[in-house]
Symmetry: C2
Subunit: 436 residues, 2 copies
């Protein structure tokens, strides 16, 4: 019995949403259920609307109090309805966790730019990664970074405007109905196969952060962990979204330990690069108190797009064109001190269990191109980073490990992996379990 | 019997692709069929691979001749395999049009950046809009403009790297299998309901191009056409992808007439704006010889993102901040001449049937903000545009209509709509059909 939540603005797109609803019911089969939630600006009346806009706007108003939605400016309407719909969906989702008959197996929306912002914010906030989410959008052939973020919202381009049920839009919405119904059924099957969700999984789940220039380190760690221990690795590319996804999966309880080899997103956060994971990087694993090893992979670089897009103020810096669409900038000593400071502050303020946290510094070089002879070799800047971390964490209970090797040294990789194993209290497969 | 094509690089991701294949077969039910095509760099051997990489690379080599794929640099490998896979898929798709037992109902791929580029290029090139396409990508939480383009490739973010079948990736791939199987089933149903595809549709299909500043014109036209004639309208936002989608749907035979009210994408093509539809804009409707009315809506503006992203060379120009993420630049007389030239050249070189083409110039103003008193009112630049078109098309058989009203004048909208009706040879609903 797949149960799908349909979010839509009924004041502007009722006919299209009703068509989508009918198609979902057809695709989902006789036991499929749709809960149709009106997130429009003004209330609409229709027998198929299950949660009316006025109920949402009043009974699910944010803490700050209910507002007269129709009188708000457009941007405010969206923010307000995000708050209301988030509150409603969180309640419905939580109810479904306790009562299988009310469980939610998918969430869908269709609309223009404003609609997409609204629905994606609600889905990202409430629904865990892995729970099917689909948005049909006039906007999907563009930059989806702010829309998808670190979540798995699937995006379908509507091609033409979602206004008027023409031949093409009917087909697109029909495809979307098949997609969400099929996803919801697959999700329901996977829940049934493992009713307690992740808890029944036997393998330990370890997150690893990677970049092109730290790949051989991360590949070696993954190989070592998966060959010798009952572990499955989750590798995240440090694209901004990748680091945030890793942190989110820690918060959701999916990841049980993290080897944060590559923390380059801090550079982009501080220097305005394109792979910025936001100001909260490192916080989730520290706050969770799980085994967590932090290194400084690729902190020699800030990422930009094509060379022409590198900001004016950086044009005279040491720039390296990785390919026509990726330009890297070498971080200087001042920036490296700031990066070190960022790491120190997060560890000092967010660490729940200092015994579970270690910082590993590969003194021989923090990336493939920062070793002697490489285009980003700069011992002075590296030392600014290392000494800031050393000084900042002096007297803390967090262990700092200094290793003369480079980050991609295969021995370094194995040793870091073994450090994590030790923190996790694991034994080799086949060997008796170590006391925990 | 949904039939789904699975494109994948088996040399690097065989285990993940085999898992995806098995999940699709489970989601699609007992009659579901998967054709698994290996688009990797080197051949892999597995009983479930239906089209081997070496067959693809040799028997479907491009006209320029077969190459030793493994010896090519990475970028070349992708280009070469795009050519081979495109040739194979075009053959398979065409075969399916003739033989229902071989029909294709969906296409899916999963992989990293290179994989996504490869698969999206093949799908965009071969498969019509409306035929289900899904890509699971490490890349989907980013700029999908170049990937989705004017097509309806649906994008699912893999969240973690597609390497190693961990708990999360299994769930994501399982969701993807449900999505493509469900879409393919919905598509198959919609084909069965209308076996000849678009040809059985009764209503005439008219494309309209729109921008925020020409919305009241386009809304009025749509209302007039749909209320009075057996017509369904397809509205396209001029986002670059939107204009290209309109042109593509003309080429695919979906649109039977076009009112190209808003040709602002030409400004972005010529001046480096963000809503560039490429250099081929206007060509498809002209070459198709269908009823086609071109106007100059929103040619007063080039689109950029936030003000800080407007190129240095334009910072002193007349800029208008529509909102924090959209900055408009007024086109000047020189640029307007170039825009006029673009329109003239396309009409001169691409028109198949001059009797079906008209150019309509709203002399009172080309957008909501270009009328007297508006921030982009500039009679001199407008006149540069109008006179270039007048002079350029002098002596051609294409009718130029000059109208003193503004583009958003409701009477102007109705008159333009009626011009198209006349070209299409339609009568009002209920009235006897006019002789064609």
């Amino acid at each position: 019995m797949p149960h799908i939540v349909l979010l839509g603005t009924c004041d502007t797109k009722l006919a299209e949403l009703l068509y989508l609803r009918s198609q979902i019911l057809e695709s989902g089969g006789p036991t499929c259920k749709v809960t149709f939630v009106d997130v429009g600006r003004t209330p609409s009346a229709h027998e198929h609307i299950d949660v009316r806009q006025d109920i949402l706007a009043i009974e699910y108003a944010p803490e700050s109090g209910a507002k007269d939605v129709a009188s708000l400016p457009r941007g405010e309407v969206i923010r307000y309805m995000i708050a209301c719909a988030t509150k409603w969906l969180a309640e419905a989702y939580t109810k479904g966790l306790k009562d299988p008959d009310a469980a939610i197996h998918g969430c869908i929306n269709a609309g223009g730019t404003g609609n997409t912002s609204l629905a994606s914010a609600v889905m990202r906030e409430v629904l865990p990664i892995g729970l099917p989410k689909l948005i049909v959008s006039t906007n999907a052939s563009g930059d989806m970074g702010p829309i998808v973020g670190e979540s798995d919202v699937t995006m379908m381009y509507s091609v033409c405007d979602i206004a008027g049920l023409n031949y093409l839009l009917r087909r697109i919405l029909s495809n979307a109905s098949g997609a969400i119904a099929g996803m919801a059924q697959a999700y329901e099957r996977s829940l049934a196969a493992s009713p307690q969700g992740v808890n029944l999984q036997q393998k330990k789940r370890v997150g690893l952060t990677m970049f092109g220039v730290t790949t051989s380190c991360v590949d070696k760690i993954r190989d070592h962990l998966e060959s010798n221990y009952d572990i499955e690795c989750f590798v995240f590319h440090c694209t901004g979204a990748g680091g945030r996804a890793m942190e989110r999966l820690v918060s959701e309880g999916v990841l049980e330990a993290v080897l944060d080899i590559t923390t380059t997103e801090i550079c982009d956060q501080l220097c305005g690069g394109v792979m910025d994971a936001g100001p909260l990087r490192l916080e989730a694993p520290l706050k969770a108190g799980i085994p967590y090893i932090v290194s400084v992979g690729a902190t020699d670089m800030v990422n930009f797009g094509p060379r022409s897009t590198v900001p004016e103020r950086y044009q005279q810096r040491n720039l390296y064109e990785h390919n026509p669409t990726v330009t890297l900038m070498r971080t200087n000593a001042e920036e490296c001190r700031a990066i070190g400071d960022f790491i120190v502050k997060k560890i000092k303020h967010c660490t729940k269990d200092a015994a579970q946290v270690q910082v590993v510094l590969p003194l021989g070089g923090v990336s493939m191109i920062a070793t002697p002879g490489g285009p980003f070799h700069d011992a002075e800047s590296d030392e600014a980073l290392f000494s800031t971390i050393r000084a900042g964490l002096k007297g803390s209970k967090v262990l700092i490990v200094e290793d003369e090797r480079t980050i991609n040294d295969q021995g370094f990789a194995v040793d870091v992996a073994e450090r994590l194993i030790h923190l996790m209290g694991l034994s080799r497969m086949g060997a008796p379990q170590r006391m925990q």
